[in-house]
Amino acid sequence: MGLPDILFYVFAFLTLLCGVLVIANPFSRNPVTSAMFLVLTIISMAGLFVLLHAFFLAAVQILVYAGAVMVLFLFVIMLLDLKEEERRRVKKFGLVAGLVSVGAIVTIFLKVLLASKPGADLPVPMLEGEPAALGKLLFTQYLLPFEVVSVLLLVAMVGVILLSKKDLK
């Protein structure tokens, strides 16, 4: 086991631990702590991306998710007054039903993974996700989706401005 192998286990453990703390933190039910642990999850996932040689996506993950998206989340949490969230209790029935259904889905996932062995007889991975290769593909083969996404961003921006006007009809 070399260093990258150990780093995989470290990052995978961190990702899952912080993921658990996002949805169920035993110390605090404040959404701000959830958001902070979501940032940690995303950063350790960027570490996993680096281990997968997807360097560009790791950078984008940190810039867009941990930067822009989480700042948006924190803004909204601060904007809304969520003090009463801490007083609410989780309903027993919902918790049990959720745990049972999600446990069933975990079992299905793991059984399928063990049965199908998707990693068997694959070639040695040589792929490097460096920005140059990704950009070349993005501006040749995927030019139309790229432009459509820019229109989508414009639509989202106009929609958000319209939604946050004072007198929403």
Binding site: V20, L72, L114
Partner: protein, 117 residues
């Protein structure tokens, strides 16, 4: 690079400690289920929304690992688009939550039981 050398034909796949495709897929599946658990059990709109983000990220991890182990860059392009669309989706969703909060003064799904605003 050398750490992936025996990521190919592993016969007892999950027993091998060197991370291969299966290891990443297991992490991704567990993360997806964590997000699902959050959406099902938590009742706060914002925390549910964060759990949705967790699920999207799990899908991204699965796509990147498939892309890496199949030597195919198209998966990473798809992840790039997913990140872009997710950013737009977060902006619109949070604007909706803020608009809802202005009308109803709550971000708790159990208080939002009627279809009319």
């Amino acid at each position: 690079m050398e750490y992936c050398k025996n990521a190919g034909p592993i016969t007892p796949s999950l027993r091998c400690m060197t991370p291969g495709l299966e290891h990443y897929l297991v992490v991704s599946a567990l993360l997806f289920c964590l997000g699902l658990l959050g959406v099902v059990t938590r009742r706060n709109l914002l925390v549910m929304y964060m759990s949705l983000e967790l699920m999207l990220n799990a899908a991204n991890l699965a796509l990147v690992s498939f892309s890496r182990f199949n030597n195919n860059l198209n998966g990473q392009i798809l992840v790039f688009f997913i990140i872009t669309v997710a950013a737009a989706e977060v902006a619109v969703g949070l604007a909706l939550i803020v608009a809802l909060y202005r009308k109803r003064q709550t971000a708790h799904v159990e208080d939002l039981t009627t279809m009319k605003l």
